[in-house]
Point group: D4
Chain length 152, copies 8
């Protein structure tokens, strides 16, 4: 059963965000990948966010650049933990997306990662850390991963 | 009949955003003021944006700080011109909100003003400029305002 | 009859600013393109700005980099809505031009877009949104464009 | 039984970090607060991090300013989810601490919040969201909190 | 006969820009002070710039904040040396005005000083240095000023 | 007789700084070019600065990157007008050199240009503007240059 | 006997950090190079730092990028002088690592160099300067190096 | 016999730089404090730097703001280790002075501390660390200081 959703605002974000996949597969965590835009296809975002928990998802990972509203839009419509991955491409080359992603109002947090591929990878690892809190098998894989230098 | 809506994410933004009001009143442009949050009360934002044109609004002015998603959320749900006013308060003291507001994806523009009260005032003046394109009385008031130094 | 003017400070800005053209043509909005510099050919700028409304223009789109005074110079001499597109090339690679463009004094607004081609495209879409306020055909094209994902 | 640890580098950080407490208490999540420095008392940090899971902790929240190494030092020694809260006070007034906190190497994520009190509050809410994944009572409280505007 | 003009965009800039005056008076260089805005009263700026040399001026000092177009607008209309003093007040607290002032196109330089009062003072000293190139009395005063630590 | 010195901290700056030369030659202003470093060969800098006026120089143009002390070191030892050209190459890619160059203490100004080649060119044009104050032939060439669009 | 240790967080930092080696060899200062990560292999860092003085080391040079905790982690566990070299690669391309490296708490300094290869070279020269305080032969080599322009 | 010199560009820097004194006195390291400016009194700086080693100094600590050339000017004229303390006050409130101080050319390092009082304190502690390399009594005091939390 799928546990983690990887979402992104545009097809052009796919190469960066899919850096998360080998990590999820290493830990054998089932996932789905979807493209949807907070500004161009807002109804899809709302639909996904409001049904995600019932579909079995436990963690939503969202990557977006520039105004970078996707993670926040998901958080507005879901109480699941949302992990935000800022993407480069704006005038401040990712620092803008970082500030848009991390500076959420009180009460509606987005767990923010660093910009780009390293952020996508760490979003996967954080998702594993969260899921491992109640999953001893996953926790063993995590400790093993860390003992080997936290690399695949 | 109301033409301009002034929207803001939080009651604490009111003092800044209401700097627009004397300008709208000087030009005799009817307006409404509402508080609604893209993250805390997203359903109100969607409801407002999707019905705004039918309610008679022609221009939406939105002020928000930090992640500053309000203007973008309105634009996602309305084809009316949206004017964004970035507000100070984030770690980069308004520059963050400016970048969140202005860096919209292609096809969904937000007309962005400067940060804070000067931005709220100029949002009002831009709204008047837009409405005056088809309103000779308003255009005369605008030319008169400019002849006198563009000040109240 | 022409409605939108696309202005830029230098021939080297043309490739970026002309990204607006397919959008204006998609919406069948007539336009003109001119090169003029606020610092090298200031008299041409004043001449254009002061006669633009009588020539039939409704919206002025101005792209400039570095000190980026062109949009502001047009606004100083015209009451038409001015949309500013900051261009990269300065020491802060467009952030400088963004701040020069957006931070206008009270009473003389420039509707600012994001830096570069995305900004030029959104300037065109904002111009269409403004013109569609009193043009039902244009508004239908706009709603259709948005339903299809706000892309050409 | 305690579930969340709130850690900070210096007594002077306490006023900011304790903004998290009313939120943890609202959700009835047991917590502890400790002061320890990655640079002045590194042995205490290592001792705490390596024993935290066995002590019953599920989430570590760490606040630090300037070089802001505390969250990263905890992450180096624990596989529990670590939430980092950047604090103001450095030359870039929190942006420096944000970049030090969020830019972790691949494989060792820190879930980063915004700078200062809003970040401390959101660290608490994120901790609740994580714990609620396997706790229906907590999830009900969370949905209730969100229905009421995500405020205390 | 007046040699130096001190110009500023708004009455609110006067306190900063008048820091230049004691230095001009120390060196016995005649000056005038005027307020005029590149955006609100552009015709006054053009009128002043195009007649400045014939009025006897040799150096134009211009202070402005935010978009900071005044120095550039003067330079567009005069071949006299223009010294720009960026003023604080924008979102980047003077760094924005500095970049707007200094980043002029090729061929139309503005000699830029640091932000605020120190910049106004140094504008006066630079004006003296320029005038002293052909004025031995002024040069003696300048050398004397420097021998005494370059302070009044 | 030489009037303008073009100085730079390193041979690697030569390609940028020599962009000034065609402009000085167009205006028939004699110049010299020298490489000397404020940190590696400080005695040469002091020797040059203290004798420059007696050698006939009227304007010193100095280009430097990173800490960018050359213009300031010359100003410390000469009362001639010093024009500073910040060069790219530091961590902030020229913005650092700009701030090092422009932020001189009160009483010891450096007339600062924009970063890189455009700054070197404008340093030459500013030098011409200064020299033309007492040279009618040069002033005629300057007006002619401006009438033709301020370009070579 | 080895005197200087060059440490770095990752193999990918080696090309930059080894720019220090020709300088140490020119001055005939014995050194070692090691890769160890404050986050992935923290126990190695602690082991190295706590035994470095007894192994004969006098200066520790540490290069790291992004969160850049390595120099600080060494300083937490050793009273030897630690020289930090910030490396590019983060969202602010080295400025982030610079701020993480330099902004240490009171009492635990890291002597910070500029970003990248120039910083690695200067770390070597600073190490030589420190060691030469009690080594006349080394001091003579240093004075000779400086007389020849401070270059190899 | 004096070992450490604390130098600063202006009397107004004294309050910040003297934060170093209690630390030097705690470790019983003799010091002197002098005010001298790289730009206003350059001859005093050269005189001090060229004679410092023969006067018995082993470490030069220099604090300066804005263009912040003092540490670099000392380094240009002395082979002793120079520690730079950037001071706030410029347009980037110390970040500018940090970049001016740290970005020295290859071969002429300045050991840079953080901005302001914390930097002045850490300059003193680094000086002690360097002097303790050949002074067992001082090293014992240093270890004792660190065992007690690296605080006075």
């Amino acid at each position: 059963m799928k546990r983690v959703a990887i979402l992104m605002g545009s097809e052009s974000d796919r190469a960066v965000m899919e850096a998360a996949i080998p990590y999820l597969e290493h830990f054998q965590v089932p996932y789905e990948v979807h493209v949807m835009s907070a500004h161009r296809t807002p109804d899809r975002v709302i639909q996904f966010a409001t049904t995600a928990r019932d579909q079995g998802f436990r963690i939503l990972i969202a990557g977006a650049g520039m105004a970078a509203h996707l993670a926040g839009a998901l958080k507005a419509h879901s109480s699941l933990p949302v992990i935000g991955v800022p993407l480069p491409g704006g005038v401040a080359d990712g620092l803008d997306a970082l500030l848009s992603t991390v500076q959420m109002p009180k009460g509606v947090p987005v767990a923010t990662m660093s910009v780009g591929k390293a952020g996508a990878i760490n979003a996967a690892v954080l998702a594993v850390e969260i899921l491992s809190l109640e999953d001893d098998t996953l926790q063993e894989r995590l400790e093993d991963f860390r003992r080997k230098g936290a690399k695949l």
